[in-house]
Each structure stands twice: as structure tokens, then as C-alpha cells.
């Protein structure tokens, strides 16, 4: 029986999408009990993006957040407001899947580099906020990067080395997927900051509010503090989600993957070594 006949919303998509959204909701709720500083409510969205393509990923992301609010489960109220962010996450995952990024290993130096750059940028960002000039009329309100580098050289060196090492050891098993996850997290933080700032006053009632408060203490406005909090926590969250989907896709038998068009586009990554008897 051919269930992938129509492109787009064929019966395979109709079968997978509700399951993926339910996975989003289930893992999102469970993670709350694990008390991690992560949300992990996009794993299903990333999965659909990788397996079914960008546009279905977009649809799944948007619908997932809408439906989560509709369930009325605890802490699900704000979800519907961020449907557009989830849609973009699904979109990016779809393009990444189409490019085969969920099946290729990246060279280790690339992962190390990305880890290092990310932690460096994060340190810069955080220090900029902590050293913001208290005078509201001063322009520019932030000290320049050069000044910060001179002032905090040791901090930068240490954190960059940690970032490089983290990239080398942790990201290296993720291939390109972890890198895309990291970038997606940054995009998600930027996209969600205005909504969180304007509609929710930068506050969600969760532990991350302390982070927002800390940034406000250094003089940032609501929008800036929300953005800073997002950029600090979202990339890890999305990177972990992409990592998990990558690992799962790696371990799936080809028969299961065969029904999904977006993944089929990539041919076998590495040749299987010949057994000794044939040589």
C-alpha cells in the first residue's frame, strides 16, 4: 500500500505528525520532573523536520505549540504565543535534514571551533551586560569588545579553552547536527525575546527568571535581558534536541527510514568494510 503518494500531507505525514507533537508534549512535561535547566519541547518538531522536510517541520512546530496550550496541562499556557518560534525550528531542521546533516559526521576540528566560538561569544555577551554603564544617557551604553578583552583576558582564555574542549569531546559525536542545533538556539532566542518581553514582561515563572533578573541588575531593559537569557539557555536546549534526534536517526534501521522522503535524499555515508573471507 503506497502511503507516500501525495507529496506533503500524505498519510505517512498524517500518521507521524500527531505522534511527534505528542512526543514534544510528553518529553516537555517529563523534563520538568527531571529538574533540568532545559525545556526539550522540540524533539518531535526537529524529528519531523528531519524526516519529512522543512515545510512539514514548520507546520508541526506551529501546531505543536498551539495544541500544547489546548491541552491545558500545567505550564502549557505560554506555549501558543511562541508557535512562530517552533515553526522556524522545524523549518531549519527540515533544511538540515535535506542537506544530510543528520547522517554525516563532522570533522572534529569543526566541532571544537564552533564550541570555542560559541562560548567566547557568550562570555563577551555576559560581560558586556555586567559592565554596562549605569548612566542612562551614556552612548554607547556597553563597553566595547576591545576594552572587555583587555580587562578580562584571563576569563576569556579560560572560557574559550573550555568551549574548545567541550566542542571537541561533546559535539564531536553530534556531527553537523549539533552545530545546526546551536545556531537554531540562537535564532530561537532572538525570535522569542520580543514576545517574552512584551507580552510576559520577560518572566515565565520558571528558574530562568533569575537570569533575567541578573541581567536587569546590570541595567539592561526588559527586552535586552530577555534576549540575554534566551541566548544563554536556548542554544544548549536546541543543541541537545538536535543531538538526540541525530543519535536516534543514526541508530534506526534503514527499513524504518525508507518511508521518509527527506532522509532518503542522502546516500550511504561510509562504505562497509569487506569481511576477511572475500579479500
Amino acid at each position: 500500500m503506497n502511503t507516500t503518494r501525495r507529496s506533503g500531507l500524505n498519510s505517512t505525514a498524517l500518521a507521524l505528525i500527531p505522534l511527534a507533537i505528542a512526543i514534544n508534549i510528553a518529553i516537555g512535561q517529563i523534563v520538568q520532573t527531571l529538574k533540568l535547566p532545559l525545556y526539550l519541547d522540540s524533539i518531535g518538531t526537529v524529528l519531523v523536520g528531519a524526516l519529512l522536510g522543512p515545510w512539514l517541520g514548520l507546520l508541526t512546530g506551529a501546531l505543536a505549540n498551539v495544541i500544547w496550550t489546548l491541552t491545558g496541562l500545567p505550564n502549557s499556557g505560554p506555549a501558543i504565543n511562541f508557535a512562530y518560534v517552533a515553526a522556524v525550528i522545524g523549518l531549519i531542521a527540515g533544511f538540515a535534514g535535506r542537506a544530510g546533516l543528520f547522517q554525516r559526521q563532522s570533522p572534529r576540528w569543526m566541532s571544537a571551533l564552533v564550541g570555542g566560538i560559541f562560548v567566547f561569544a557568550l562570555t563577551l555577551f555576559v560581560l558586556m551586560f555586567l559592565n554596562r554603564s549605569p548612566d542612562p544617557d551614556a552612548f554607547p551604553p556597553f563597553p566595547s569588545a576591545g576594552e572587555l578583552l583587555q580587562q578580562y583576558t584571563i576569563v576569556f582564555v579560560i572560557t574559550t579553552i573550555i568551549g574548545l574542549a567541550a566542542g571537541y569531546f561533546i559535539l564531536q559525536r553530534a556531527g553537523y547536527a549539533g552545530i545546526v542545533g546551536l545556531l537554531t538556539g540562537i535564532v530561537a532566542a532572538i525570535l522569542s525575546a520580543p514576545m517574552a518581553a512584551i507580552v510576559f514582561g520577560g518572566v515565565t515563572g520558571a528558574g530562568t527568571d533569575l537570569l533575567v533578573a541578573a541581567f536587569r541588575a546590570s541595567g539592561g531593559s526588559i527586552l535586552e535581558s530577555t534576549l540575554a537569557q534566551g541566548v544563554t539557555s536556548d542554544p544548549f536546549d536546541k543543541m541537545t534536541s538536535f543531538l538526540i534526534v541525530w543519535l536516534i536517526i543514526q541508530s534506526l534501521p534503514r527499513r524504518l527510514l525508507a518511508r521518509f522522503p527527506n532522509i532518503q535524499a542522502v546516500e550511504e555515508p561510509t562504505p562497509v568494510p569487506q569481511p576477511a573471507a572475500i579479500r
Binding site: M1, T3, R5, R6, L9, N10, S11, T12, L14, A15, L16, I17, P18, L19, A20, I21, A22, I23, I25, A26, I27, Q29, I30, L34, K35, L36, L40, I43, L59, L63, I67, T69, L70, T71, G72, L73, P74, G77, I80, P136, V199, F200, G201, G202, V203, T204, G205, A206, D209, V212, A213, R216, A217, I244, V245, L247, I248, S251, L256, R259
Partner: protein, 256 residues
Amino acid sequence: MQSIYSPGDSLLHRLHPLTKLAATALIVAAAYLLPGLLSPLALFLVVLLLAYIGGIMGSFLRPVLLGLLPIVVSLFVIQGILFPPPGATPLQLGPITLTREGLALAFLISTRLLTFTSAILLLLRTTHPADLVFALTERGMPRSIGYILLVTLQIAPDMISRATAIMEAQRSRGLETQGGLRPVRALVPLVGPLVVGALVDVEERAMAIESRAYTAPGPKTSLRELVDTTSQRITRWLMLLGIVALIAVRLIGFFR
């Protein structure tokens, strides 16, 4: 079905879903677009009145207020006390220094959020999801989206219990889930089986959908019927006009 619909026979329950949807949109738009510090609070009282008419007053207030309490407390602490906007006029309250602008801002955001959440809760409490989906599909929403909505609401509790069962099963096999970095390493053994199980289900479900001729072309008849009256239609258009007017007034105010 996992949803917060509570059946009843009040006036609200009998309204066409689109009327309720339009009303919710109007209330939310008004909460965020009307000037005035007290208007969101007034709108919240309107929502409470509607909840009373709908007969769901009892179990309505508590989830709304409880759900919003952490946010409101955070808001007041962060905006009102700790980090008020610059150049605000201080108000002494015993040992704590508040600011009028900070308190006003926190109050505004809290009441807006309160109105938003309670309006949506009111809609969902008085409207069966299948009716809402049917009404939207009649007006042109693709059937597939409505299908996804309904099926997800149905399988969400099943997925949650599956995830819990997997977590307990892994724990009984020695997986550590507390302390330090262990919860992060525990994620793959928890999420993996869940996703793989779902992917295996996909094949069966896809075939079931096909065998029920879901993807066959042509119009479909529905088991559900919705009652719609002219007065409701007119009211809906008026509400939509109201939203447009609110946006227009606000934009004019911006460019003045």
C-alpha cells in the same frame, strides 16, 4: 481525550464555536490595545462574568490564578521592587522602596496576562475540540490540520504515560536520573525508545488512515452538526470590526 472541555448546557456552551473564538480574539485584542491602566482588569471581570454565565465559575478561577501566581510574583519582584524603570518616583512601603511606574508596569502586564489566559481557558472550557475543529473546517481550514489537532489531543495522555513507563523501566534497569550531569546522559535512553516506538507506530497508522479512505478525494459528510443563527453571524462580524477598529485607533495614536 486530553482536553479541558467540561460539558454543560449553558448559553455559552450552545453558542457556535466561531462566535466564541471571535469573542476571545476581541477580548484579548482589547486587553492589549486599549489604553488605560485599569482596562485589562475590567476585561478580566467581563470574562469572569461570562464564566459565571457558562456555569464553570467554580473550577475556573483556581487554575487561572494558581497558574499565573508564579509569573505575577516574579513580575512584581523584578519590576516593582528590584529593578524599576530608570527615573521613577519612589514610594515607601515600610522597609521596601517601591516605585509607582514599576508597580504600574507590573500591574498592567499581570492583568493583561490574566485576561489573556482566562479568555482562552473560557473558550476551551465551553467548546468541545471536535466542534471547534469542525467549525473551522467548514470555513476553509484544511481537514488535515483539524485531524492532526484532534488526534494529538487524543494520544497526548497515552504518550505521557508511555514516557513515564519507559523512565521507570530504565530506572529499574539501573539508569541513574538524579544528581549532577546524570539527567542529561539519561535523556537518550529515555527519549530513544519513545521515538523509535512512535516511528514503528507510524507505519500501522498510515495504513489505517489509507484504509479508511481519508486521503480519497471528494466531499465528506460529518457526524457532528453545529447550530448557527443570523444574530450570531452579525455579532461575529461586529466583533471582527471591533478588533480592526482597535488596531486602527492604536496605530493612529502611534503616528500622531
